[in-house]
Symmetry: C2
Subunit: 558 residues, 2 copies
């Protein structure tokens, strides 16, 4: 029998009504704001009412450096959530929302895969509950109000060459990366350079995902630096008086979205900031709310553990006062082989030596996570062609390095395939050994924070930053931003800045090309290498084959 | 006691759940796709199932030329719907959705006013059910795919100087009216001129509002002309292969939105095309569905009857096979006074002579509507300071010209204030005297169609169009577009092209500045005067005072 595709499996799911899903974790019908019959937002009032309740245990799912072989981080997150429920624990899943634009370039990013998926998949890859549209509107309202302020006399004395707030669109449109705006004469304003990023790269997205509530959201929006004056003093969103209206536009988007897994377990899918120039995690409000409603909350971070888990722990957990009870590190035999030097074409052949050699990448991520004081368990996401000898090699390596690796078959079997991992995580959590600490204290200087991440996580020998960058960091410290954490934007494919260097390289150097202040989100971005904030479409975009079939179902999106 | 504001009245409304509203017109819970507890889309399946059922009676509400005094067309539409229900008729209302962008410039456009409103007002002025966001996404996906096609080799040989498809945003942003895109080097494409219109001006909006179903939608999207080659042959959306993906993005947006009046009667609020470069009516699918569900359907058209009703009748009714049973023409004593030469500051003083003189405007609209073979009844939307003598003057004028004028107090009293009008409309409809005919046949030449509207509706002496325009119209006839109706874009404040000429001017000339082909929507736009398709924000935009108050309610939007 042919293997079913993700979308076939998703469409065959027997979904419960979203009200029934809500009931499982104690959300009454009145507190659910439905979007269709299988999606709902959880009302802000309900969330407030949970404040006094005790928190469940937070489990982070992260991964080795991504390879073209695929690791299945989201699939494992979903599977583990189902696994917890299957062994009798009340568990929820928290993951990010997908961006619309990229779905029309390459095939859409499903929420999990095989028998570990979140549904309704079509909606999640399209407009979903409109959160990203709201973020786009709020962002662009601010852009329009800045130019409008200048147009009507520029009372704030904005240096029109130093407007740093661009525009956003949830579309892969390379033509908008760099534009000249306000052409065509006096009624259209003063000609100026501008450009568009994709919506997930908006600071508004990062802010929404880090804000505690609407009040905090409004404050952070007000803190955004939108431009500078000739004397280089900053002009804030608050000065433009856009923060109130932006908050109104984001009022509904701040409420987490409830959906379900194929096994009818509750999942929050909320927020989706870029994982390079932002922190790459679902919203704080979703994670916090889930912790009030469930005993176990499984969440994931973007990219590999060097970027994703590091930011999750140093930015999101620090800011939100969260502390994970355990980390699950996802690896695959195939990815180990690629880390061991095998090319994509040779992945189907057994190669135990390559697996052993590739395990160095896994090992370093394990070590790194332990630096944060959190126990780590390795999940081997099973692929059909993995051999016994290869699996044994990974298990032996992990065991030698003080952890345990557990084979998980949730892709093929749903929760039944991941009960062992779920059980071991519960055992680990119940030992109560986690003593979470961020890697660096707030008081450390900004440059030292960058160096700490580069040397202790990436294992670089040196960090190269020229005088302009060091001066800028000092200036921000003087301006009161010294306590902020660092968000490093670099390639996700390697510990180094060279995407080709797999495994666990040593003796490398990390050059800091640029630093940016996200004053509203509350972090300093350090950019190492080229970062693309507006993707383009490929030669044959998937949009060309996306359409409704004769039965009205979407084809080509998956 | 102080008069309550619209928003106070709206917030005090005791709304029924949207399921109960649906039940009133036979829509079961499964066929409603809820968006929160007070909004829902009606499922495409349900709509299909209504196909064989008989149609109710369609009543168009239109108005005299708008004046700064206000006419209350939407208020009367909503009031009349409630009025029909109050006298025991099963009635529905169909109106347009509001655009987001302008709400941040001037105060938001409420859906009706006083005790004749549609709720929830806040949502309808913000994201509502996401229809406009979907239209924005579909429009801009096509833009990105055009530039992407050129970027990857331009197989279709598009002349990059002749790309006529711009971009859209639902925001008042004058800086985007005219831009240079694809700057910054080879990876960003070929530098080109472009620009943004506001979303309601998108041809995609007009198409969604005229399409019969998803299949027709896809066909019309495919028909859009996006660019020309060097030999001036057109390149269609279909050639770019964007029509399928655009349809997928618009799948949910095609389903009409059900909300309720303050008196808990059902209303469809769906679609909102520009009333100048497009036809300015709510969607065909909403009107058609309402006709299947109710005995009386009240709808409105944009601007005054010379533009709005003319387009409703010649474009929407013709295309959709609709035939109104009666037209209600809204006038106010105050607007009559302004048409009679009184300034805004003098409106509060009785001036019977000015009312009499201003009635010429009303009279001409009455005559015009009768040309379409439909009976017309005048609704005098009552204002507190109207005097008996002024009202009597309007009534006498209308009576002398073969119709009846009825005073309506729905703003102050809801349905109780408009029962007389509702009763008279029912009596008129039951006489079955309507013999609707569009003003011109499909076969007439495009230039003759323009002349017909200008001479028979605007009562112009002549139409001025230079050779280039006449040649263009002939070329479109040769290309197979000769059967299309005309959509005239001109000032809404006068029968002439001069917004200052109130009343019923004669002896004027209409110059056609430009003609455009909306091949997907299916009409030819004739532009007479300056048309703004991307508004700007005012000196002090209302966004500056829009915010959430301490109780989480929106202030400043209304």
């Amino acid at each position: 029998m042919a293997v079913k595709t993700d979308i076939q499996i998703a469409r065959e799911a027997s979904k419960l009504s979203i009200q029934e899903i809500g009931k499982k974790v104690g959300i009454d019908e009145k507190s659910l704001v439905p979007y269709g019959h299988d999606k709902a937002k959880v009302s802000a009032e309900f969330i407030k009412q949970q404040a006094g309740k005790p928190d469940g245990k937070l489990i982070l799912v992260t991964a080795i450096n991504p390879t073209p072989a695929g690791e299945g981080k989201t699939t494992t997150t979903v599977g583990l959530g189902d696994g917890f429920n299957a062994i009798g624990k009340k568990a929820m899943i928290c993951i990010r929302e997908a961006s619309l634009g990229p779905c029309f370039g390459m095939k859409g990013g499903a929420a999990g895969g095989g028998y570990a998926q979140v549904v309704p998949m079509e909606d999640m890859n399209l407009h979903f509950t409109g959160d990203f549209h709201a973020i786009t509107s709020a962002h662009n309202l601010l852009s329009a109000m800045i130019d409008n302020h200048i147009y009507w006399g520029n009372e704030l004395q904005i240096d029109s060459r130093r407007v740093v707030w661009r525009r956003v669109m949830d579309m892969n449109d390379r033509a908008l990366r760099q534009i000249t705006a306000s052409l065509g004469g006096a009624t259209n304003g003063y000609p100026s350079e501008s450009g568009f990023d994709i919506t997930v790269a908006s600071e508004v997205m990062a802010i929404l995902c880090l804000a505690n509530d609407l009040e905090d959201l409004e404050k952070r929006l007000g803190d955004i630096i939108v431009a500078y004056r000739r004397d280089k003093t900053p002009v804030y969103c608050r000065d433009i008086k856009a923060d109130g209206a932006m908050t109104v536009l984001l009022k509904d988007a701040m409420q987490p979205n409830l959906v379900q897994t194929l096994e009818n377990n509750p999942a929050f899918v909320h927020g989706g900031p870029f994982a390079n120039i932002a922190h790459g995690c679902n919203s704080v409000i979703a994670t916090r709310t889930a912790l009030k409603l469930a005993d176990y909350v499984v969440t994931e971070a973007g990219f590999g553990a060097d970027l994703g888990a590091e930011k999750f722990l140093n930015i999101k957990c620090r800011k939100a006062g969260l502390a994970p009870a355990a980390v699950v590190l996802v690896a695959t035999v195939r990815a180990m082989k690629m880390n061991g030097g095998v090319t994509k074409g040779e992945l189907d052949q057994e190669n135990v030596e390559a697996v052993k050699s590739g395990c160095a990448n896994l090992g370093r991520h394990m070590e790194n996570i332990k630096q944060f004081g959190v126990p780590v368990i390795v999940a081997i996401n099973h692929f059909t062609l993995d051999t016994e000898a290869e699996i044994a090699a990974v298990k032996a390596y992990v065991s030698e390095h003080g952890s345990e690796a557990i084979v998980c078959k949730h892709w093929a079997s749903g929760s039944a395939g991941i009960k062992e991992l779920a059980t071991r995580v519960v055992e680990t959590v119940e030992k109560d050994e986690a003593r979470f600490e961020p890697l660096y204290p707030d008081e450390m200087s900004l440059m030292q924070k960058i160096e700490t991440i580069c040397t202790r996580i990436y294992r670089a020998d040196e960090v190269v930053a020229d005088k302009a960058i060091r001066t800028q960091l000092k200036a921000w410290e003087k301006a009161g931003y010294g306590h902020l954490p660092i968000c490093i934007a670099k390639t996700q494919y390697s510990f180094t800045i060279d995407p080709e260097r797999r495994g666990a390289p040593e003796g490398h150097s990390v050059p800091i090309r640029e630093v940016r202040l996200s004053a509203g989100a509350g972090f300093i971005v350090a950019i190492c290498g080229a970062i693309m904030t507006m993707p383009g479409l490929p030669r044959v975009p998937s949009a060309e084959v996306i359409r409704l079939d004769s039965e009205g179902q979407i084809e080509g999106l998956f």
